[in-house]
């Protein structure tokens, strides 16, 4: 794929430069407000992954990989999974696996509310974002090998 190797045209690059930060920010917003408004860790994580995919499609592999390398993505993904599991295990302090031990703190309808739900959202978003980016990267690298072969 020549486009991904060298990036796309200047128009696409400029638009990407302007929007990619906003997309990332929107993803983070969706994650943090998951317990108040529609969205949540999963949708936000996909948006974060899409912002990196966007970068990669417009500028080619190198630029995106400089921001988030492949082993790094894999590590973040595992860390997200472990964080989720750890939150679940910390529930044992309240007596049960997955017990919402922070409930009752904070005001409803504020960011700091709903106990472990925002924490879980963050863990899921890390996992989903990094994981899907890793998947996309694996698919792109498949194409590269194919090109070598021909």
């Amino acid at each position: 794929m020549d486009e991904t190797a060298h990036g796309m045209t200047i128009i696409v690059k400029t638009v990407t430069r302007l929007t990619v930060g906003l997309i990332l920010l929107f993803g983070i917003y969706i994650v943090l407000h998951g317990h108040l408004t529609p969205g949540g860790g999963f949708a936000g994580g996909v948006i974060i992954a899409l912002s990196f995919v966007h970068l990669m499609l417009a500028f080619g592999k190198g630029v995106a990989l400089k921001k988030l390398s492949r082993p790094m993505a894999s590590c973040i993904e595992s860390a997200g999974g472990l964080m989720f599991l750890a939150i679940a295990l910390l529930g044992y302090t309240g007596g049960w696996f997955f017990f919402n031990y922070l409930t009752g703190r904070g005001q409803p309808f504020r960011i700091f509310s709903a106990g472990i739900i925002p924490l879980c959202n963050i863990a899921i978003s890390l996992k989903v974002g990094a994981g899907l980016f890793a998947v996309f990267m694996a698919l792109v690298f498949l194409g590269v090998w194919e090109g070598d072969k021909k």
Partner: protein
């Protein structure tokens, strides 16, 4: 009732595509369509006539909201669908790399 049947038709179009089509990408598309029919059916089951979205606002008296449980389940199912699609797409690409085609009739190394 009619909506349920329409959903079932969507589901069956997907099943038809999986069973009849002889192309790897077409099979993945069929799975996707089947899953869409299923998700829609699940959400329809929990819909309440003239209900509200299950999101509270400050100082709101709890009125009739739609059933949040099917929505939560469908959210899970969507992720599972995405996972399956990603894995299948990778398998299809690897097969293309090996055989140079997506046509299943030409990818018959195994005896049925």
């Amino acid at each position: 009732m009619t909506v349920y049947l329409l959903c079932l038709i969507l589901f069956l179009i997907g099943v038809y595509c999986i069973l009849i089509k002889r192309n790897l990408i077409k099979i993945i598309i069929g799975l996707g369509i089947m899953e869409y029919g299923l998700f829609l059916f699940f959400v329809l089951v929990g819909y309440r006539m003239r209900g509200r979205a299950p999101i509270l606002e400050p100082d709101q008296i709890i009125a009739d909201m739609v059933d949040p449980l099917p929505q939560a389940l469908v959210l899970t199912a969507i992720v599972i669908g995405l996972a399956t699609t990603a894995l299948l797409a990778t398998l299809a690409m690897r097969l293309y790399e090996k055989y140079g085609t997506f046509d299943i009739t030409q990818i018959r190394k195994l005896r049925g």
